[in-house]
C-alpha cells in the first residue's frame, strides 16, 4: 500500500497489466521515451521496450485505426490521445469501426481497445486542452465511457478497461492528476465497469457527479451537512456509458431530491440523460425538480476566465440548498 497520485496510480495499473499479459501494449504520441506529456507512461518504455510502448507518428486517427487492427488480431492495445481536444480526429474510427465490429460480424470480431485521454479544465491550459466532451463518445452505441475521480478508482478502473472485451474511452481528469494522493493497494484491484459508487450516504438529497467535479461536490455536500444538518448522498458515476441505472434510480427514489453536476456545457449532456432516466423511472418520488450545475453553452473560454465558468463548490451548494428548500 502506497500513497499515490492519479498519475502514479495509472502508471501502476499499466505496469501491472503489462507484466501480467504480454498482449497489452501502449501506443501514442510521446508515450515512450518521454513517458507521456503527463508522465502516465513514465518508465514503461525503459522497462518493456519500444515494441510494447510505441512512440507513434503524430496522427490520432491512425493511432486508433491501427490499434483497432491490433485488437482484431488479438492484442490488447492501450492507446493514448495526448489531449481529448484532439480526439475528434478519432471519431470516425470509433463510430465506424471500433464500436461496430462486434455487431457487424455478429460477435466474430471484437475490439478490446482502451483509449486513454486527459480531459477537463482548471489547469490554466491553452485552447483545446480544457474540454469535457464525454457526452460525444457516450452517444456512440458499442463504446464504453469511463471517468475515474481518484487515484484508487483510476487504477482499478483502468485495469478493468484493459481486461474489458469492448472499446473503452477512458477519460482522465487533468485537474485530478496530481491534486491529491490516496492509498492504493499494491495487490491487484479491479472495479466493475458500468457501476457507480455511493461515496457518501444521506437521506435527504442525492448529488451525482463524476471526474474532477467530485471534489467540489464533496466539499459542497460537507458544507451543507455542517450548516443545515441535511443528509446528502453523493454518487460518483465512474462509468458514463453504460449508465448504472440501478444505483442512480435507487438513490433518488429514496431521497426524492437530486442535483447533477457536470463539467461540460449544459445542453445535450450526460446530466440531461440522467434526469431523463430519473423521470422515466421514479418521477413520482421527486419532491423537487432535478437541477443541473454545469458549464454554460459557450465555446470553452481561455483560462483567464475559465474558473468563472466551471462549476464550483459554491454553485453546487446553492443548487443543493435550493433543491432542499423547494
Amino acid at each position: 500500500m502506497a500513497k499515490l497520485n492519479m498519475v502514479q496510480a495509472l502508471n501502476l495499473a499499466l505496469d501491472q497489466e503489462m507484466k501480467r499479459d504480454d498482449r497489452v501494449l501502449i501506443l501514442g504520441e510521446d508515450v515512450g521515451v518521454d513517458g507521456g506529456v503527463f508522465r502516465v507512461t513514465d518508465g514503461l518504455h525503459e522497462k518493456y521496450g519500444g515494441d510494447r510502448v510505441i512512440d507513434t507518428p503524430l496522427a490520432e486517427a491512425a493511432i486508433i485505426g491501427s490499434a483497432i487492427g491490433m485488437a482484431l488480431a488479438g492484442l490488447r492495445p492501450v492507446a493514448e490521445i495526448q489531449f481529448s481536444g484532439f480526439s475528434y480526429l478519432i471519431s470516425a474510427q470509433l463510430e465506424c469501426h471500433a464500436s461496430r465490429y462486434r455487431s457487424r460480424s455478429q460477435g466474430v470480431w471484437t475490439v478490446p481497445l482502451v483509449v486513454r485521454m486527459p480531459y477537463g479544465g482548471g489547469v490554466r491550459a491553452l485552447e483545446h486542452h480544457s474540454e469535457s466532451r464525454e457526452a460525444t463518445f457516450a452517444h456512440f452505441p458499442g463504446v464504453k465511457v469511463v471517468i475515474p475521480s481518484s487515484p484508487r478508482n483510476a487504477r482499478a478502473l483502468l485495469v478493468a478497461a484493459i481486461r474489458d472485451p469492448d472499446p473503452v474511452i477512458f477519460m482522465e481528469p487533468i485537474r485530478s492528476y496530481r491534486a491529491f494522493r490516496e492509498e492504493v493497494p499494491d495487490e491487484e484491484e479491479v472495479m466493475e465497469i458500468g457501476k457507480a459508487q455511493v461515496v457518501q450516504e444521506g437521506k435527504d438529497l442525492t448529488v451525482i457527479a463524476w471526474g474532477a467535479m467530485m471534489r467540489p461536490t464533496l466539499q459542497a455536500a460537507t458544507e451543507v451537512q455542517e450548516a443545515r444538518g441535511a443528509g446528502v448522498e453523493v454518487i460518483d458515476l465512474l462509468t458514463i456509458s453504460p449508465l448504472d441505472i440501478g444505483t442512480i434510480v435507487g438513490s433518488v427514489a429514496r431521497t426524492g431530491r437530486c442535483v447533477v453536476v457536470q463539467e461540460a456545457p449544459r445542453s445535450f449532456g450526460v446530466a440531461a440523460e440522467i434526469i431523463a432516466l430519473i423521470n422515466d423511472r421514479t418521477l413520482l418520488a421527486l419532491e423537487a425538480p432535478v437541477r443541473r450545475v454545469t458549464n454554460y453553452d459557450v465555446v470553452t473560454p481561455y483560462f483567464g476566465r475559465e474558473l468563472l465558468y466551471l462549476p464550483d463548490a459554491q454553485r453546487i451548494r446553492e443548487a443543493v440548498e435550493g433543491t432542499l428548500a423547494y
Binding site: L25, D51, T56, P57, A59, A61, A62, I64, G65, S66, A67, I68, G69, M70, A71, L72, A73, G74, L75, P77, A92, Q93, C96, H97, Y101, R102, S103, R104, S105, Q106, G107, V108, W109, T110, P141, G142, K144, D164, P165, D166, I193, G194, P242, L243, I245, G246
Partner: protein
Amino acid sequence: MPLKEIERFSISHLQVLDEKGNLDRDLEPDLSKEQLLRVYRTMLLAREADQRMLKLQRQGRLGTFAPCTGQEAAVCGPTLAMSPRDWFVGSFRELGGRLMRGESVAQALLFYNGYEEGNSLPASARTLPIAIPVGSQIPHAVGIGYAVKYRGEKDTAVVVFFGDGATSEGDFHEALNFASVWQAPVVFICQNNHWAISVPRSKQSQSRTLAQKAVAYDMPGMQVDGNDVLAMYRATREGLDRAYAGKGPTFIEAVTYRLMMHTTADDPNKYRAEGEVKAWWERDPIARFRRYLEKKGLWSETLQAALDEEIRTQVEAAVKELEGRTGFKPDAPFDHVFGTRHQGIEEERGEFLASLEGRKGAGHG
C-alpha cells in the same frame, strides 16, 4: 553552392499477359493447373453472381450493392497469392477475393439483403468483414501487420484492398506512413478503377501514377495491369515475399476499370462516355485469361460450356437458399452491443420484443 540531386525515383509498370494474349514468358508465374483453373473459376463465379445480383436488385429482391465486374483479376490474382495465414482486409468491391477466402455466394447475397449474418467468415479465415467508409479499413491492416510482427508469426502478412478514391483520404496516408515507420508486413493494393462514383481519376489526384504515392513513404510502389491476373499474382507474390522476409510494406496500383455502376444506386450514363466503357470491355480480364488457358491447352469450348452451366446452377442455388431463409432473430442487435451484459440494454431488448407482439412478420424476416 550548386544544387545537387540527392534522391531519384522511378515507377515501373508490370504486365505479363497483354490484351492480345501475348505472354512474357520470363515473367510468367509458376502456377499449377489447379491454381490456374481455381482462379479462373472464381473470376467467372464472381462475374455471374454480380450479374445475377444486378437483376435481383432491379427486381427489388436485393438491396444496394457495389458490382465488381471488370475488376475480378485485380482481386483474385492477389488472393491466389495469399496463404490462409495471411490476412485479407477488403473494402466493398472484392467479391471474387472473398469467394476465394471461403465465402459462399449465399452469404454475399445475405449481406446485400440487409443481414449482418452475411458479413463474416469465421475468425480463423482471417478475412475482415466488408468495410464501407472509403479508406477507413487501411489502418486496421497496418495494426494487424504490427501484431503479426510483434508476435513473430512466420510467413504471415496482410493484404489490404481499396480504390483510387481512397488515396485522397487521410486514413490512407496515415496508414502508409505508419506501415513504413513500423516496417509492417502489409501489401497495399489500390484498385484504380478510374472512377470514385462520378469523379474521374483525373480529378482525384494530379499524381501521374497512384503507385508513386508509395515514394513519399519510402516503400516499393509498382503499377500493375490490374486486368492481367498473372501480373497481379506476380506483384502480390513479390510483396508478400518481401513482407515474410521482414522487409516491410509494398504498394501496388492495379490499373483496372469499373465496368458497371458504382453501386446500383447510380447511373454512370450521367457522368461517363459509353466509348470509354466499350474500350475497357475490350480489355476484359476474364476473356484475356481464358485465351491464355486455351493457348496452354488447359481450356476448351466444351469445358467452358460445362463450367458456365455449373456456375449458373451454383448461383441459382444460392438465390434459392437466400430466399428460403427465415427465422432471423429480431433482437440479435441487442446481443452484440457489448461483450458484457447491462441492465439498460436488456431492458430495451424487452421493450423492443414487447413492441413486436401482435405485429405479425415485423422484423422477423
